[in-house]
Structure formats: C-alpha cells, structure tokens
Symmetry: C2
Subunit: 322 residues, 2 copies
DNA sequence: CTGTTAGCGCCTTCAG
DNA sequence: CTGAAGGCGCTAACAG
C-alpha cells in the first residue's frame, strides 16, 4: 500500500475501488498514528491555503467585533481559517500580510479598514487575482463591495426623531467622503425632505470611530448650532462620545437633546442614557463576506446585506420635543 | 544566474560573495516582477509557517479585544500573522484548527478560551510539540501559563470599598474553579481579613462573561444577602449586568450599593453609573503571549504580567457608607 | 484495481 | 564565487 492510496482514502476519492478491509486498515493506521496531512504541502500542491485574511481598523471596536463573529461562524462552516490583521496596531507596512499575498498564502482578502491598506498590498492582491471583498468602502479597485442598508437605517433614525416632534436635527457623521457616510446622509436628507425640513450642511459635524473624537465633534456642533434638538449619530462609538460631551455641558438627554445612533451595541441599555439605536445586520455581513470569499466565482459587483432590515431599538435617548 | 542565488540575496546570506552589479540585477528583477517567495514552499521546507493561532472565547468581549490589540501589535513587530478562532461561534469541533495543528501549519498556539478547546486539539498540539501559551487558565498540560496580577487587583478593589466604610462586601465571581477566579478570591479574602471583616462564601455568586448571566447572578445574590452594601465584580461584563439588575430593583448605585469591577472598559465612563474599575495590563498580556510564542526556547512555566501594576480608576460607582 | 512517479517552489548542500 | 540538484509532503496522472 502506498501513499497515493492513503491520499485518496483521505480525500474520499470516489473513483478508488479498494477492498473494505484495506480502507479499514488505512483508517486504522491514520487513527493509530494520529496522522494529519501536512497543510503546507497541500497548499503548495493545490495553490489553496484555506486561509482568508481580514483587515480590520480596530479589533477593539464592538461594531467590527460583531462583523467578526459572523465571519468566524461562517469560516468554521466552510472549513476556513481567518487571519486577522489590525491596521491600527499592526502598522501600515503590513510586512507579513504583503508577503502572504505575494506568496500565494491567501485564498481571499476581506477589507474593513477603509484607508488603512497600503497600495502595495492592494496592487499585489489584484495582480495575484486574489478575491477581494470590501466592507462598506469603495477603493476604486476590482473587488466585491458589500454594504449595509445605510440609507434606510439613517432614514429610520431620522424619522423616529421627526415622529417625536423634532425639526432641527443634526448629524454626527463619520469621516467625510466614505461610502457609508454618503449613504447615511442620503437617508437623513430623504427623511428631512419628506417632512419638509431643512437638511443643511451646517447641522453636520464629522467625527470618526473614536469616543474622544466623537465628543469633540459633538461639542463643536452643539456650540455652533445651539438650536439643534436632536442628533443622528452615524457611528455609535461617536454617540458614546456625544453622551459624555453633552452631559459635560450640563444638558440632559433626552430633555434637552435627543440621540439616535446607527448600529446597536450589546451594552447600549446600560449607558448613562440608554441609547436608542438602529440595529444593522453586522453579523450577517461578516457571514456574507466569508461566503463571497469562499465562492469559486466571485462576480465583481456591489451587494447589500438585506437579510435583516434595519431595526429601531427604542431606549431612552429620544424624547418628545415641546 | 540561478534560483539559488536569488534565494540567498533575498535571505541576506552573508556568506554569499557576488558582484554588486549582480546583486543589483537580482534586486531589480525582484522589484520589476514584484516577486515574492511562495509561503507554502517556505513553510514546507522550513517547517515554520510564521502563523500563530489565538483561540478566544468571544471576539466580542472588550476584555479579550484589548488582549488582541496587544497581540496584534507584537505579532506585527515579530513579522508573524495571527490566526484567530472564536470558540463560541466556531464550534468545538474546530476542524480547521485541528487540521492545521496536525499538519504542521502553526508555529504556536495561544489559548484564551478556557474550557472550550477540545482535548483532541490539545493532545495534538502536545504531540507535535507546538509551543502552547495559556492565558489565565490552567489546563493541566505542558504549556506556559500567563497570568495577570489577579490577587492584587481584587485586593485593590476590596480595599477601596473598605476605605469607603463598607463592611459587607460580596463577590460577583466568574466561573468556579478557574485559576483567575481563585486568585481574585485570594485578594478579596486577604483584604477582608486584614480589615477584620468576614469573607464568607455566602456573599459570593458565580456568573460568567455575559451580561445576562451577570444580571441574574447579581439579583440572586442581593436577594439572598440584602445586607451587602458593596460588590467586587471579578468580571467587568458581569458588572454591566449588575448595573442593569440593580437599577431594575430600584436600588441606586452607589447610594444603596457600591460596585468595583476588575478590568477597565473604554466606555466605563459613560455607563448608567460610571464604573469604578481596576485596570489590568491586558494589552501587555497580549504582547507577552506573542513574545513567548516567538521565543525559540519556551521555558514551560508560569509568569505574571507585571509590567504595569493594577490601577484603580475612580468613577462613581463607589460611595461612602453611612 | 493498486503502485509509482513527477512536480508544486523553495532553500541548502555539494560540485564545478 | 556560482550553478545544479535533491528533497520537504502531497496529489494527480499514469503504468502495471
């Protein structure tokens, strides 16, 4: 009996006809020796590593963490392993990542970290024809783009505020120019327009995905526009900052100012003011990304995760306006 | 010029004597072709993949996320890549993980997920002599164990409460029998004893790393022991649950009951009651784990991350007792 | 129906 | 000082 037979038994080669006894013997030996095929050799031979890289901005952000949960579940189901890179701490050089992409060590690339991926890495992925999936970010490259129902979410948030009598509704937006920022703006504007309200640029401030940045932006916005009675926060982490910033000025939520954030948080209910949010299918987005990464044919294009529609979760950060 | 020369140029073989012109030519070609060595072949030949697996209980837990940040930073520095497995979503079978361990695809294994790693995986890692690093959990295997200054942290928390006049101080502990639970108990008992206070088992409840579980445990503990005026939460996620549970019963924090949690949270300041915590060197622990994983000699043994001592962060969940 | 062989791409040893 | 060759472990094709 030779190694070839063993290989075919392991890989369930249906064309292989051997006696049940022999197959039994092979299986027995495998189990006796606790044999497992060498993955490097398999990769070398097949040019498929079973590895998918995920590049995140910040592993610490609960929104991304939820995406990761979905990705983890799906990758387990598809028998893939996830290589996680954190662009914030990992540095932009990304030596190991570039080496793995160049060296054929990756089957696919999922990019959450908008601007943080070096062009070298992107160029290599493209030239090696590694399927690339972009999460919520246009990068002007040949890649699949997965989006969330951003417009709808912002619309739901804004509508909820309007339903409570608010007319001066501002936006605490994420970085200017990002795709999902644009789409959430569209939702805000649509809702405002429908209600005959003015959605002017003066009522928006740009923040980031960072509590402190969110707090600063919120403070600046509210001092510039003291007439605002409500804020739609495009980024729930910024909303956390807003919570802090607003209470520091002595204003009360929701009495003086109402808040709705896009994306829910597990601990949204135990915040200084329990935060009303619009939950988005983050988990599903992670799953979808893996499924696309595993699909043999990756039709380049856009897709929106619409398995679960955005859902308003009422808590206590929205009040009725006098 | 042959492939051997190229290999030696890339790997900075100092014994190689070639004309500067030739070296230049090689480098030029590498850059022209955007050449990168095949990682699978390198792995096959060298039996080193540059990959370290990290097994987490829950990627969504901010405490583990902070450990991951440290691990990410260190792995970038050491030119390693991190394979992240989530035992909660990934399932316990862990097919891909077992395959990679058995097939020599991993250089090291870092285990955060206490009980969630199958014995098969553990046995394989041991038999393949893959350096294994345990985070805060004894598993009775040949592996390095990294701990946090758990006893000190619990002691600091308890002392702080005692300083505020509390005498009936309970514990919201994590799962019974876990190493760090035991150590935090030691800290609590030491502080209580030093103050001449009674640290009886009746004042402790066991929770988990889950808000709802923490909330339930807290409710049960406080109805059983209404005399308690303060709680040391061994797990900050349980503390979040406690926040919710306590306010639901109409009691006030800190007026009726004070809370200190071990491990800080980025958003601890914007909670319904800003939470007083004892910050631990989680980031450093992640770094240390990677450094051990990369060390050629892994002296099996215990070590405590003491780069930064536990630090009390006063917020508003602790009040003075009448 | 089973065993042998070649080659995936690299790096190291040895011969030239 | 440089080129050739073998083998890491696997699997697909082919020979027996």
């Amino acid at each position: 009996m030779s190694s070839g037979v063993v290989s075919r038994v392991i890989n369930h080669d249906t064309t292989l006809r051997i006696s049940e006894a022999t197959r039994e013997r092979v299986l027995q030996a495998i189990s006796d020796l606790d044999y497992a095929p060498n993955v490097a050799a398999q990769t070398l031979r097949s040019a498929r590593s079973g590895l998918i890289a995920v590049i995140l901005n910040d592993v610490t952000n609960p929104v991304y963490a939820e995406i990761m949960r979905g990705a983890q579940a799906a990758s387990a189901k598809h028998e893939r392993a996830l290589l996680v890179f954190d662009s914030a701490t990992g540095g932009h050089s990304a030596g190991r990542l570039a080496a793995m992409i160049g060296g054929g060590g990756l089957d696919a690339l999922i990019i959450q970290a908008a601007g943080a991926v070096s062009d070298t890495v992107l160029a290599r992925a493209a030239s090696r024809k590694i399927p690339t999936i972009l999460l919520q970010a246009e990068l002007g490259i040949d890649a699949h783009l997965i989006s969330l129902p951003d417009k709808e979410a912002a619309e739901i948030a804004t509508d909820h505020l309007i339903d409570h009598g608010h007319r001066m509704i501002g936006c605490l937006a994420t970085a200017r120019g990002m795709l999902f920022t644009k789409n959430r703006f569209r939702g805000w504007r649509a809702a405002m327009k429908r209600a005959g309200l003015k959605a002017d640029q003066g009522a928006v401030a740009y923040a980031g995905s960072d509590m402190d940045v969110g707090a600063d932006a919120c403070t600046r916005l509210l001092t510039r526009r003291p007439d605002l009675t409500a804020l739609v926060c495009f980024n729930v982490i910024d909303a956390l900052g807003a919570l802090a910033a607003i209470s520091k000025t002595g204003r009360r939520i929701p009495d003086d100012i109402s808040l709705v954030a896009v994306n829910d948080l597990p601990f949204a209910g135990v915040l200084s003011t329990p935060l009303t949010t619009v939950a988005m299918p983050l988990y599903d987005m992670g799953e979808r990304a893996i499924e696309l990464a595993c699909g043999d044919v990756l039709e380049i294009g856009e897709s929106i995760v619409d398995s679960t529609p955005p859902r308003l979760i009422r808590r206590q950060s929205v009040g009725r306006v006098a």
